[in-house]
């Protein structure tokens, strides 16, 4: 999988949109490093957030990578770490 042609801010915006769509939560920037479960997600909601991101970015995220999706920043870090 290649790195999406998006800036970090754009990636974060998509993650926030995913969380807001699934949970109606609005996350302030100071909580972008917090664990997703601490933000109020459960495993089912977290999966739906990942599915939303997958559809929005039109890519497939391997299940084995999901353990890295711990926070909003971590998700953005993951996509930024992908090869261009």
């Amino acid at each position: 999988m290649k790195r999406p042609a998006l800036t970090r801010d754009e990636l974060v915006t998509i993650v926030l949109e995913a969380i807001a769509t699934v949970t109606r939560l609005r996350i302030p920037p100071e909580r972008y490093g917090d664990n997703l479960f601490a933000l109020g997600l459960d495993s089912l909601k977290a999966i739906q957030v990942v599915n939303f991101i997958e559809d929005r970015l039109d890519l497939m995220i391997d299940d084995s990578e999901l353990k890295r999706f711990t926070s909003i920043n971590a998700i953005a870090d993951y996509f930024e770490s992908l090869p261009k």
Binding site: D42, S43, L44, I47, V50, M60, D63, L66
Partner: protein
């Protein structure tokens, strides 16, 4: 209260049709888990295999029943599978005449996780688009349809209802049936589990829940409970049936005696079970059976094959059983059947009770590397258990959305092994 026993079994799985056929295929390790051909897979599907029941021709059903089934019934494998397993279990238990003589003294409970989910939308659409006179479109979609239809076909006039609690649906129904008998409401009960529910849409959703194994290169060994290389569930259709009766009224070659149930419910997280709730269900079953953990000789594990969940089960067993956990074999019937939704207690249960009746510890399946996080005895050598007596079996059944159950069965000391494959 007298004991309730399981005196008849019917089974259809992805491996084959019929109890004896499944027992034979289980012994031969010929699983029905294979690449999907029955329906189209959505694009970009990660998992392309499952356990799908074979086509069920109406010709395998007794002609006397077929002539009374509607066109809609005969079109649906959901209905045909249920009819098949019920007639098979009734025949083995030899209770047809008792039902005929006392129709109100027999209960019939249908258990399913997804029910007739596949048909509902299609039937309602058919009503609006094609057959505006056909109110049966709605009736057929109701979960109460199948229990009512089966009761009518088999002449049963006692309590009759539908039970659904995800993967533990059938065990919940067995619990209810046992209580109906023990409280004297009925003399016998028929528990039918049926989940024939996979097609493009439902399978796509299971993929998107991200709990399935991706081992497309080797579907037959993809369901690997307790193996270090397990990578998720393998979903599979099935239908099964138990006949429950009082011990003194059943034929002498019954399968197993119900000794106690445990149930705990905690749905705070739909996907990840709570280790505390798993523990509670096992402890309650032993308490209900009035047995110490040391009395258990064999554990039929819930064994989802999920990387996260299997260690919870092992830890619960270690905590409850202490040192005995190293003696008692822990076996995963899902390694043969896959994860059969709400049917597990009567599909896995059918094979587990056969092992109990025959006092036979099956060989470990689909374990290629032990997982250091699994400390329970899931890696035993079956040869070391030749001649080992199974007096009591603990059957575990944990459910999606947190309904966890356990049941303790006792062996029939007078059972013969004439029905073994």
């Amino acid at each position: 209260m007298g004991s309730t026993v399981v005196s008849g079994i019917g089974l259809i799985s992805s491996a084959g049709i019929g109890r004896e056929e499944n027992v034979r295929l289980f012994a031969e390790k010929k699983t029905g888990i294979r690449p999907i051909e029955r329906f189209e897979l959505p694009p970009q599907t990660r998992t392309g295999f499952a356990g799908l029941v074979p086509p069920i021709p109406w010709s395998i059903l007794p002609p006397g029943l077929v002539s009374r089934m509607s066109e809609e019934d005969l079109r649906q494998d959901y209905v045909k599978a249920a009819v098949y397993v019920v007639q098979e279990a009734i025949a083995e238990a030899g209770i047809a005449e008792a039902i005929r003589r006392q129709p109100r003294r027999t209960a019939l409970l249908v258990a399913s996780s997804l029910g007739n989910y596949l048909e509902v939308a299609g039937l309602v659409k058919d009503y609006f688009l094609n057959h505006l006179y056909k109110i049966t479109s709605l009736i057929h979609g109701m979960n109460s349809y199948l229990p009512a239809r089966l009761a009518d076909l088999f002449g049963i006039k006692g309590p009759c209802w539908f039970v659904s609690s995800s993967c533990s649906s059938s065990l919940n129904a067995v619990l209810q049936a046992d209580r109906l008998i023990k409280t004297g409401v009925v003399d016998r009960a028929i528990v039918v589990g049926v989940d024939v529910c996979l097609e493009t849409g439902t399978f796509h959703l299971w993929n998107k829940i991200r709990v399935l194994s991706h081992r497309n290169d080797d579907p037959a060994t993809a369901c690997r409970p307790y193996c270090r290389t397990r990578d998720g569930l393998v979903v599979a259709e099935a239908a099964g049936c138990f006949v429950l009766e009082r011990e003194g009224e059943a034929h002498p070659d019954w399968y197993g005696r119900i000794l106690g149930f445990g149930l705990s419910n905690g749905s705070a997280d739909f996907v990840k079970p709570s280790p505390a709730d798993i523990l509670l269900s096992i402890r309650d079953a032993l308490d209900d059976a009035n047995l110490p953990p040391s009395a258990i000789d064999f554990v039929a594990g819930s064994a989802s094959g999920s990387p996260a969940c299997d260690p919870y089960e092992s830890e619960a067993l270690c905590e409850i059983m202490g040192d005995d956990v190293r003696r008692v074999p822990l076996f995963a019937f899902k390694s043969f059947l896959g994860s059969t939704f709400g049917v597990q207690a009567v599909s896995e249960g059918a094979l587990a009770l056969t092992c109990l009746r025959d006092s036979r510890v099956p060989e470990v399946r689909n374990v290629f590397e032990p997982d250091p996080r699994i400390r329970a005895n899931a890696y035993y050598d079956a040869r070391a258990y030749a001649g080992y007596g199974i007096g009591t079996m603990l059957f575990l059944n944990f459910g999606f959305a947190g309904t966890h159950m356990a049941v303790v069965y006792g062996r029939n000391p007078h059972a013969t092994t004439r029905r073994s494959a």
